[in-house]
Symmetry: D2
Amino acid sequence: MQQTIRVTVWNEYLHEIRHESIRAIYPEGIHGCIAGFLNKAGMKAGTATLREEEHGLRQEVLDNTDVLIWWGHMAHQEVQDEIVERVYRRVMQGMGLIALHSAHASKIFRKLCGTDSDQLRWREANEKEILWVMDPAHPIAQGLPDHFILPHEEMYGETFVIPRPDDLVFVSWFEGGEVFRSGVTYTRGLGKVFYFRPGHETFPTFYNPHVQQVIINAVRWAAPYAAMPKVSLGHNPEPIMPLSDRRPNTLGQLMEDYGK
Amino acid sequence: MQQTIRVTVWNEYLHEIRHESIRAIYPEGIHGCIAGFLNKAGMKAGTATLREEEHGLRQEVLDNTDVLIWWGHMAHQEVQDEIVERVYRRVMQGMGLIALHSAHASKIFRKLCGTDSDQLRWREANEKEILWVMDPAHPIAQGLPDHFILPHEEMYGETFVIPRPDDLVFVSWFEGGEVFRSGVTYTRGLGKVFYFRPGHETFPTFYNPHVQQVIINAVRWAAPYAAMPKVSLGHNPEPIMPLSDRRPNTLGQLMEDYGK
Amino acid sequence: MQQTIRVTVWNEYLHEIRHESIRAIYPEGIHGCIAGFLNKAGMKAGTATLREEEHGLRQEVLDNTDVLIWWGHMAHQEVQDEIVERVYRRVMQGMGLIALHSAHASKIFRKLCGTDSDQLRWREANEKEILWVMDPAHPIAQGLPDHFILPHEEMYGETFVIPRPDDLVFVSWFEGGEVFRSGVTYTRGLGKVFYFRPGHETFPTFYNPHVQQVIINAVRWAAPYAAMPKVSLGHNPEPIMPLSDRRPNTLGQLMEDYGK
Amino acid sequence: MQQTIRVTVWNEYLHEIRHESIRAIYPEGIHGCIAGFLNKAGMKAGTATLREEEHGLRQEVLDNTDVLIWWGHMAHQEVQDEIVERVYRRVMQGMGLIALHSAHASKIFRKLCGTDSDQLRWREANEKEILWVMDPAHPIAQGLPDHFILPHEEMYGETFVIPRPDDLVFVSWFEGGEVFRSGVTYTRGLGKVFYFRPGHETFPTFYNPHVQQVIINAVRWAAPYAAMPKVSLGHNPEPIMPLSDRRPNTLGQLMEDYGK
């Protein structure tokens, strides 16, 4: 019944170009890897990158995107404010947004959070991460075991300065002693937002079948419905029910109505 | 035990100057009225207004403010971005913020929300509003009856485009058929935020004893603690627990660790 | 991809038998009406009623039910505790539960709430109810306008003594001045629970197309996934990571470890 | 301004009697230890235990208790249902409840949860636990560092089958690879509920200054206000606003009103 979901996978695409060791892991870029497994899962996934014109995110592209995936790290500041605003407007209208790993510090995620979501603990020590499912009835946890292990990852630790999540789907355990809210959801306007922690560029995290399952689940969860409620905003002079406008003409009467 | 709470009541202070009918209700401005009842309640409340230098919100003023109350309506755009950023930084550090009535569309509240919180239904028809307590165990509902009536108010109606509230304290009923989430809380960084709907400038709403009780309760709720947890952010190279760094030297071994 | 959802519509089925005026509205019972429109929507909906053996809810019936709908009013106390426990166990395992109208006071909903959810204001005055969508991005709000009107209904008013909802989907406005959280969700174990307020037996509420849409949406939302995460509970002597068991042999050493 | 908070610390008090090694740690029982540091903090804390008549929880005791602390482990089934019901009723009326450690499986906490909150992973291996603050602006986190370490504790691991918490204050890290939501809050009726994980009887956990701070903070947070909103429940035949009772006399007209 649901139409094919149209996904745009956005990637900074700088690490893969500059570092051979990273390119060796993701020869087609992180975006290529993610779009690949989404297409295999029956979605229609395209890509866009920072160095393309308008970062590959022309209005027409966004208008034809149900869910936008965002991976960025070293060049958050290069993303133009105008494009951020364009993405924001589409989220308000119902486009889903999935922010991966260091996208917690991207302009768009920070704008949607309204907090210092770029603030957290971190350490690059190739340590083990165990992701635990907090909410096994959540659509994003479908088909997963109750925990899964990433053998090497960058550490992100609390306190993560985010708003209270709508849903807390995953919490990560790190070998060095930290924990992290690794899968959190928000609703912003008509759009659904999911932040997922793993995905450091120096590890083949996006080949992990559980990570792929999470992203596939999240795309399905974040895709807008065919028929979103039509919200009526702005000036509504016509009441639904009849009014008895008894506003007094005098200040004295007004104050008296307020018991003063 | 708790120190005297230091409040700054910020008001646009344009309506009261321009319209004699409004000045008649609030001869010392809405800010003067609010600061007045807060001082009577044992707080130390000062005021600040738009036309003052730096809108009356020099860094030193904010550094000595535990809770900032914000009333604005016609001149949101005149508030300088630099001052908005300054207020935002103080909220992140723990200053409470109470946004009243049309402050839903203020720059600072919109920035903290991360949604189109300026979007809602509205109508000026002097109709009746009944505020219902949703969460009678909430600190902001202390001492209130389970509902109270404002004889005349501006209508605000759903859908109100806000993030899911942390706590939903009040829902309003309007004579014309609408409802509205009239008291909602958020945490942003170390700061607590409360939005309270009533308070149109043409009505003596801020003289209502229940409205005053809500604002007094909210100030107490939003005031930062003497000892907030010290959050450690940024690069943490030293793990709490010993690491077994077994990152492989070869790509082949890395991929193997990932089961690929 | 999703299998046909199997629904069991449970109804007390006493009002319709005793009162001709109610039977005139629901000649096949409220359960018959609801099962009817669910079957038309492509689900496989059966029915069960209080006076049947084991209330029509033998273990086998529940084992083959994805979502159970519950309507009860005058005979909550007649429902056997053993059957309530049986339903509860299935919810824990993932069966969805939709409680309609006066089912707020049913044994099963009260057990799942953990509060006095039978407590609220009420009035039978055939007054108008307007349901407002609070969360237009919610799956249960799909295809709805931002509000819809029921011309005559029983009034339920706050304070409704329920736990904080996971999601607040609808708030009702009543002609007599009250509001009510009319659509709320909970997760309990692996099961999803939705409470929906309308549906008094003396009104043809379940013929309203918006009410039908809500219930259809809710069934889809509450149906368990094909692959729920397998939760591992109980004694787990084997750690995932190696332990350094350094528990001291002496009390003195133990207290010293605790810094005492 | 706030009155002295009256606390009753309830303890099973069986482990301490049966096992000399445990008695050596808590010579006056766990309840004696907890009541001791609460009294030092300026509260009025008494105790009650399982083997006392009515488990030490006569109605009069509860009526004079603002916050009840509950520690139980091996004898949950011995607590009489009538006393559980009595405690439940007082929580509904506003008494705070703090459930410690294995009290997750107590009758009262399970009744308040409405889920299988007795279900979780566990292991007794004396391993290290690190508690992380998730919500540094929460009253229960006042005065704490952003994490603290318990050198030896029993492990509790997710999935913990609880309802979605109102507030998530702490998450624990365990040496063996698990995580756990260690500090969660709920509101039930007018009463506030806090579950706190640590406190296995074989460790001197309740001497840890951070653990004591958490419990002191939680008591202050859970204590009812002097003036709780008076909730009006039950039949309310008198509307606040005038009704236009236009219920039709005929079925035909009724159905027509519903557009059928």
